[in-house]
Symmetry: C2
């Protein structure tokens, strides 16, 4: 059973924030929610605000298509706003463009930004543009949540039902295809959505919520730590996989579970619903056309376990998260170690 | 008289935003204010939000001291919040750190961030950290302003009195010293402040406001264009210069006015006060301990002119702004061209 492993991301975060003062208006602890939550004096609203950069994905060549880069620059922060259940006010873009950028590349970048904003229902407000010798993109999304209604990563209790807003694994399957084939145009289309509309419904029911930007296993690990629960996944966890991702795993001869465990997520929302709200939530989710899958029921016993029918293995979720920090030499080594970490330990 | 020159920054900005949708909640036109202003539904407040990156200053070696880099990462966006007169809610940091960064360097970076936040009265709320092969820092500051009280760059009228919150030229003098001497430790200490407290007082009186992040001349050019006025500077404009900057110009044998014209600013606020509010403003400014200097009185006739006592030259303010875009080969060429642009044209 793996429950006490330290997550290196947490160590780095503590080192960065330890010396910084903290506002008495801020409602969340460090990394307790996908977006920062600050009381707006004179109102009963919280400001939800979050910033994210697209760096490693550009550096490693994972994102090359400028339209995708623009699209993802919006997704990374808009999705965090969705996970706290905020009404979006808008998004700021921070673009550092290479000197002498091709006009066609720049147009595609802006087209991706504009279409992602329209698709998620969030408006670009402005931003900052600089020149350098490489492309660096970031965004900041802001919105409001009525005080007391924001979703945190903490708050889930044993007995709550865990769900996800859509199929998982597309992000890792995309990364596997791009990095193993070194293809300019991967067959798998990766176009995640920031679940802003879903977040507004969820905030009325969910006890906790987080997006799967770092992959499903990392998300569950964080929710379990923050809220204090354990989880045994439903039987047939492989059914959670997006069909194209499942097909790619079969074709490549690797365990499909790896695509749930890898660090390149799909920006779905993982959330918990208390049992007494379940039937009302289901009715509204169906009425709203939400397609959700149940991951399991939170329990006291810590750690993440496969179903008995799938062998009942405990997953080293801290190990999975830290693997992304250890920067394995190549994709083969990464996949091999990920397989080892998500295999039975007994 | 130079009034119609096109500013290249405006051309670039139009190209970037032309295809993007715009929120009906947004109160400012593109670049009409230092921060974006968005109505918060259900309240009588505007969200003021702004993002800025520190890129060229790191790339060119202008900022090397990690404490200064951290400090400036806060200044760049907090100062924009000051210029619209916002009550700060907090600031997000976007840090892309080089792999294998020295702990001492990282600590100094965080110390600069923390001390700048404390000095200006704004709290760090959180942020995003990534790794890459180079340092890239950005921040986003957010606050609120009562609807109708935000300061824009437009709004000044002929007859209004133009002021600046402190001496100018320290930014350009610092840049000149670092880039000409290639000194690790410049004698001139550059530590600009985000004028958040001043902004709160100014928003009750000023008809327009903007910070001097790009230097005094660029700021005046933008205010004149947005508001539609011209200005003849007060006699002895050299008195506006920070004393150390003036001494450095004398020592280096260059016209001191160059330090008012260069693109590396000092983050003071330039603002306009309508004549009927002048005496009340002066009384409050004195009571608050503000040290302000008058730049001149806005007039109908467009363009920026030196006083008759200083020769009455018209300044090519668009040319000054575009010079920074043309990336002159070296500092000597830059200074030579800047001197030519700020010299009489008759």
């Amino acid at each position: 059973m793996y429950v006490s492993g330290e997550v290196r991301e947490h160590v780095r975060m503590r080192a960065l924030v330890q010396s910084l003062p903290r506002s008495s208006l801020q409602q969340n602890e460090v990394a307790e929610s996908d977006a920062e939550l600050v009381r707006i004096p004179g109102t009963d609203l919280l400001l939800a605000i979050t910033t994210d950069a697209v760096v490693e994905e550009i550096d490693t060549g994972l994102y090359r298509d400028p339209y995708l880069i623009g699209w993802m620059t919006v997704v990374v922060s808009a999705s965090d706003l969705a996970a706290v259940g905020a009404d979006p006010l808008g998004i700021l873009l921070n673009q550092t463009l290479p000197c002498g950028i091709e006009p066609e590349f720049q147009n595609e970048l802006q087209r991706g930004i504009g279409q992602a904003c329209s698709a998620f229902g969030i408006f670009p407000l402005g931003g900052d543009v600089n020149e350098s010798n490489r492309l660096h993109m970031a965004s900041t999304a802001a919105g409001t949540v009525p005080d007391g209604e924001a979703m945190l990563r903490s708050g889930a209790r044993p007995g709550d039902h865990l769900f996800i807003t859509g199929p998982a694994g597309a992000g890792n399957a995309f990364a596997f295809e791009v990095l193993s084939d070194d293809r300019e145009v991967p067959r798998l289309v990766y176009r995640p959505r920031a679940r802003l509309r879903e977040g507004l419904l969820l905030r009325r029911f969910a006890s906790a919520c987080m997006d799967t930007s770092d992959g499903l296993i990392a998300t569950l690990d964080e929710l379990m730590r923050r809220s204090g629960f354990g989880l045994q996944l439903e039987p047939n966890s492989v059914d959670l996989l997006q069909p194209q991702a499942r097909a790619l795993a079969r074709e490549a001869g690797i365990p499909a579970f790896v695509f749930l465990a890898g660090p390149h997520g799909e920006f779905e929302l993982v959330f918990s619903i208390p049992p007494e709200r379940l039937s009302e939530f289901r009715a509204e989710a169906i009425a709203a056309g939400l397609s959700i899958s149940r991951l399991g029921v939170a329990r006291q016993r810590p750690g993440l376990q496969l179903s008995e029918r799938e062998g009942g293995a405990w997953l080293d979720t801290a190990g999975v998260r830290n693997l992304a920090y250890e920067r394995p030499r190549d994709l083969d080594e990464f996949v091999t170690r990920l397989v080892a970490l998500t295999r039975p330990d007994y």
